[in-house]
């Protein structure tokens, strides 16, 4: 005890043969969480090639994004980084500011256990965009999360609702039927970024991906928020709220609590990512689960086969002490061997081409199998401009959760916020020494 205390008292410099790995759910070996156990299998296999390296989970524990940032600021990043800023993918501002290793060359090397293919070729091309910055690769995906609507198929059938609504009107019709049989149509997390998804998906369906990307990311503002399609999206959601299809008081519910209502059969629909099932496997049992993609909007430019989500990105820091070893570890994480286990045992969705789809997600095979596009949440706004993303999200919540402002005010405010932010950003980068 005393020795431990004393050794902690001195400078805690990382030891030479120690690799600290920051992957969500990767904890100490004693933890029986399935994903953790699978990751330790990867670590053991890694140890077969590099027996002298010791592997440890980097601590952080909850609210991990601030932990990672502080470590990077300190100049002491973990040997493998997992960007988890509100759980978007690769955080581009870290790349821009030179903290992430360019791993393109590793990716053009051979894959771990797919003969004849490079590592890069084993990853589904639709996910490549979210791993790249200015043509180079900075991350690989551990798994993929896509957003879709999950429903309790038994309740839907009882209410006479269609299991695969193709349009928004059909979706509204479903909600009405559910309400009539006394079930909460939609349960919702009101605290996290889950609320913004409704807006982004509606815009995606009405105006298409390019317009949404421009509104979110383009400093020149070729597509301002005050344009026509955005107002329609906001009004449609307002209508959904006014009809009372959301659970009462969702303002204070976090995702666990809101999903509770779903698992208990009190609410019939939840709009969430496919982590829903991988995290809740034990509770699920023989729950009548079904999933369908966010419906299309009549007359809209978008297709319901376009999905939003993110690839959980793993990267190597620029200051890595063991880049070769870290790259090998990532190669193992992307191997068919590990990915298959992940799919079968933890029910996650793999990023590999031709990967099997987890069996329990009824309907997910259709959603994923037919996808024609895959776009990151908010087109990675959070990854590059966290402050702007925060203001965007706060403003949206004033509209959807607090119901303080009207749709018109929302869009005017958003445009003002974005314009002002980009103007200040221009000043700040112009003053570069």
């Amino acid at each position: 005890m005393a020795a431990g205390a004393l050794s902690g008292c001195g400078s805690y410099l990382p030891e030479e043969d120690l690799m600290e790995i920051s992957i969500p759910q990767f904890q100490r070996r004693v933890s029986q969480v399935r994903m953790n156990q699978l990751l330790w299998k990867v670590m053991d296999r890694f140890g077969e090639k590099y027996p002298q390296m010791r592997v440890e989970p980097a601590s952080g524990g909850g609210g991990g994004y601030q932990e990672l940032m502080i470590r990077v600021m300190e100049g002491n990043p973990p040997d493998i980084m997992s960007f988890a800023g509100a759980d978007t993918g690769l955080i581009f501002s870290y790349v821009k500011q030179g903290h992430v290793l360019d791993i393109t060359d590793y990716l053009y090397g051979p894959a771990y256990d797919t003969p004849g293919a490079t590592w890069l070729e084993t990853i589904d091309p639709l996910y490549h965009e979210s791993l790249m910055y200015e043509g180079r690769f900075y991350a690989v995906p551990q798994n993929v999360y896509s957003l879709q609507l999950y429903c309790n198929s038994a309740l839907y059938r009882r209410a006479g609702a269609t299991l695969n609504p193709q349009t928004w009107d059909e979706f509204l019709d479903n909600c009405e039927r559910l309400k009539r049989i006394g079930v909460i149509p939609i349960t919702q997390d009101g605290i996290h970024w889950y609320t913004v998804w409704w807006f982004e998906h509606l815009v995606l369906r009405i105006l298409g991906a390019d317009k949404l990307r421009q509104a979110l990311r383009d400093p020149e503002r070729p597509t301002p928020w005050t344009g026509a399609g955005f107002l329609q999206a906001a009004r449609m959601l307002e209508d959904l709220l006014d009809r009372g299809y959301f659970v009462e008081g969702f303002a204070g519910l976090n995702h666990i609590e809101s999903e509770f209502l779903f698992w208990r059969g009190q609410a019939a629909t939840v709009f969430v990512g496919n982590w829903l099932t991988s995290a809740r496997r034990d509770i699920m049992g023989d729950f009548p689960l079904h999933t369908y993609a966010f419906p299309a909007v009549e007359g809209g430019a978008g297709d319901l086969r376009e999905l939003m989500g993110y690839a959980r990105a793993l990267s190597i820091p620029a200051l890595a002490r063991h880049p070769e070893e870290a790259a090998h570890l990532l190669r193992l994480v992307n191997s068919r061997w590990h990915q298959q286990q992940m799919v079968q045992e933890v029910l996650r969705v793999s990023s590999l081409t031709d990967a099997p789809i987890p069996v329990v997600h009824q309907g997910l095979d259709v959603v994923l199998g037919e996808k024609t596009g895959f776009y990151p949440f908010s087109f990675d706004l959070e990854g590059e401009h966290p402050f702007l993303y925060r203001q965007y999200w706060d403003e949206w919540n004033r509209f959807m959760v607090a119901r303080e402002i009207s749709a018109v005010e929302l869009l005017e405010n958003l445009e003002q916020i974005f314009t002002r932010y980009f103007r200040i950003a221009a000043i700040e980068s112009a003053a570069l020494i």
């Binding site: 205390a5 902690g8 008292c9 001195g10 601590s59 524990g61 909850g62 502080i70 300190e74």
Partner: protein, 281 residues
């Protein structure tokens, strides 16, 4: 005439009711936490109110071992002790000079210490963090210790300076005439006389360092180095994400216990010491 007599009686009744309500709910919440910590999670989810079927100690074992609250306890204990000793010692030294020695900029130096009490910590968190990074004092106990010692100085200096001022000047005069060096005078005579003040300040410091959260959040990255407050925060976030409330409550009880036990045994001493401090302040 009669109204005025009912007034204060009514107030007294209301106050007693209020106090009763406060104590009942406070106690109720704490009792709830304690008996829930003996339940299993399935028991807890089926009924929040019910008493546990059996007294499960596994939650406590989990909190102490897996969640490492035991380790955090030892970390906190030795850091608090060292920081308090260091802080009190240094502030007594500083306070004596500020109280008794006349030198230019004496008022200014005193004010410099006092200023820290009025300045909100959020002003300097980032510069301090960056500075400590440059000094290699982040993510280790040495840095945390030095910071805690420094943070304890302003208030202790304030209290102890006042204290030293009340001691008669004849003491130094007499000692110096007897041939004692000023150094000896301080350590042998003045410091022992300041004992009541030192005790007050020590208690204050100890409790503050024991409970300190913000800097252990900002400075400590490695789980092995956490203090109890930090460990409890991590436990709370992790356990509620996994819906393991009973383990969380066990951890909460463990964290609450040391100071509560200390308080039960030293209640009079502590309140007396703090009252003295309050009066001086």
């Amino acid at each position: 005439m009669e109204n005025r007599q009912y007034g204060p009686i009514l107030l007294k009744i209301v106050t007693i009711l209020l106090m009763g309500l406060y104590c009942l709910s406070s106690l109720g919440a704490l009792v709830w936490v304690v008996y829930t910590s003996f339940k299993s999670n399935t028991e807890f989810f089926s009924s929040t109110w019910a008493l546990p079927a059996t007294l499960r100690l596994s939650n406590y074992a989990y909190a102490w071992e897996n969640a490492e609250i035991g380790l955090y306890f030892f970390n906190t204990a030795y850091i608090s002790t060292l920081a308090t000793c260091g802080s009190v010692m240094l502030s007594a030294m500083v306070a004596y000079v500020l109280a008794r020695v006349v030198f230019p900029l004496r008022q200014f130096t005193f004010f410099l210490f006092l200023a820290a009490l009025m300045v909100p910590a959020m002003l300097y968190i980032f510069p301090l963090f960056v500075q400590m990074r440059h000094m290699h004092l982040t993510n280790n106990h040495l840095g945390l210790l030095l910071l805690y010692i420094a943070m304890g100085l302003p208030f202790s200096v304030f209290v102890l300076t006042g204290f030293f001022r009340t001691l008669p000047t004849q003491l130094e005069e007499a000692a110096l005439i007897d041939g004692a060096s000023p150094w000896k005078t301080f350590w042998m005579i003045m410091l022992p006389l300041a004992k009541p003040g030192l005790i007050t300040v020590s208690i204050f410091n100890f409790i503050n360092v024991w409970n300190e959260f913000f800097w252990s959040l900002v400075l400590l990255r490695s789980g092995k180095l956490y203090t109890m407050a930090r460990g409890l925060q991590t436990l709370f976030w992790n356990m509620s994400a996994e819906s393991r409330w009973t383990e969380l409550f066990a951890g909460l009880v463990i964290v609450m216990l040391p100071l509560v036990i200390l308080f039960i045994f030293l209640q009079d001493r502590i309140t007396e010491g703090l009252t003295v401090g309050a009066l001086k302040g």
